[in-house]
Amino acid sequence: VLADPEGNEFCVIEPGNNFLAGTARIGALSSDGSQQVGHFWSEALGWPLVWDQDEETAIQSASGGSKISWGGPPWRAKTGKNRLHFDLAPDGDQAAEVGAQHIDLGQGDVSWVVLADPDGNEFCVLAPG
C-alpha cells in the first residue's frame, strides 16, 4: 500500500495479479450485486471476504476453491427469477437461520426452503440429511 502526495492510499497490483490463484477450473462465479449482498453471503456460507473495495466484494472458502464475486454498482435491474441459483445444504440437522426473506415461487409443499438474499436473488436451503 502506497500513498500519494496528499496521503490518499492506493495499491499497486502486480501484473497478472493472483485474484484467482488457488481456484479450480471454475475460477469464480461472478454476479451483479451490492456490497451488502457480498457481506450477506460471507456470513451465510462462513466464507471470509477476500476482496471488499469500492463496493466490489468476493468471498472464498478458507479451504480454497471457487470464489464468488459481486461487481458493485452499477448493476442491471433484476428481471424475473434468476436462471442460476445456489442450493445450500445445512450441516447435520442444524436449522439454517441466515436472516433471509422467505419467498414463494409457487414451489408448493416441498422439502426445501426458498429464500432471497438482500438483492432479491433466489436460493434454496435443502432438507437436512
Partner: protein, 133 residues
Amino acid sequence: VTLRWYTLVVDCQDVRKQAAWWAEALDWTVIHESDKECVIVPAWADDAYIEQTPWERVGPGMVFVPAAGGKPGKNRLHLDLAPHTSQDREAEIQRLERLGARRVDVGQPDDASWTVLADPEGNEFCVLSSRDS
C-alpha cells in the same frame, strides 16, 4: 460453517442437452439424468474423494432443472472459467465454440482480457486469461 454451497442450479429449456453440454465443456460427469433433473459433478469427485474430504470442503456440483419462460436479459450470475497456462487458450475457446458456444457482447471493453461466451441456451460465461494456480 453454517451452510455448504451444495450446487449451482441452472434453469433450462432442455435439461438433458444442457447437462451434457456443460459436462463436455468442463470435463465433468453426468451422475443423474431424468427429464426433471440432471446432475453433473467434477470427474475427479468420486466416492473415495467425497469420503476423505471434510463435508464443508466438498465443492458444488451443477444441477439442471426445467423452467418455463425465456431468459430476460443478461443473467445476474455467471461462471468464470480459466485455462491453465500450459493450455492453448484460443484452442480451448474454439473447442467450446465447436460444441455450440458463441461469442457475445455484453458491453465488455474491446481490450478485455476475458472472452465472453454464451452456452447453447444463451447463458453467459467467461473464459479468463490463462493462469497456473
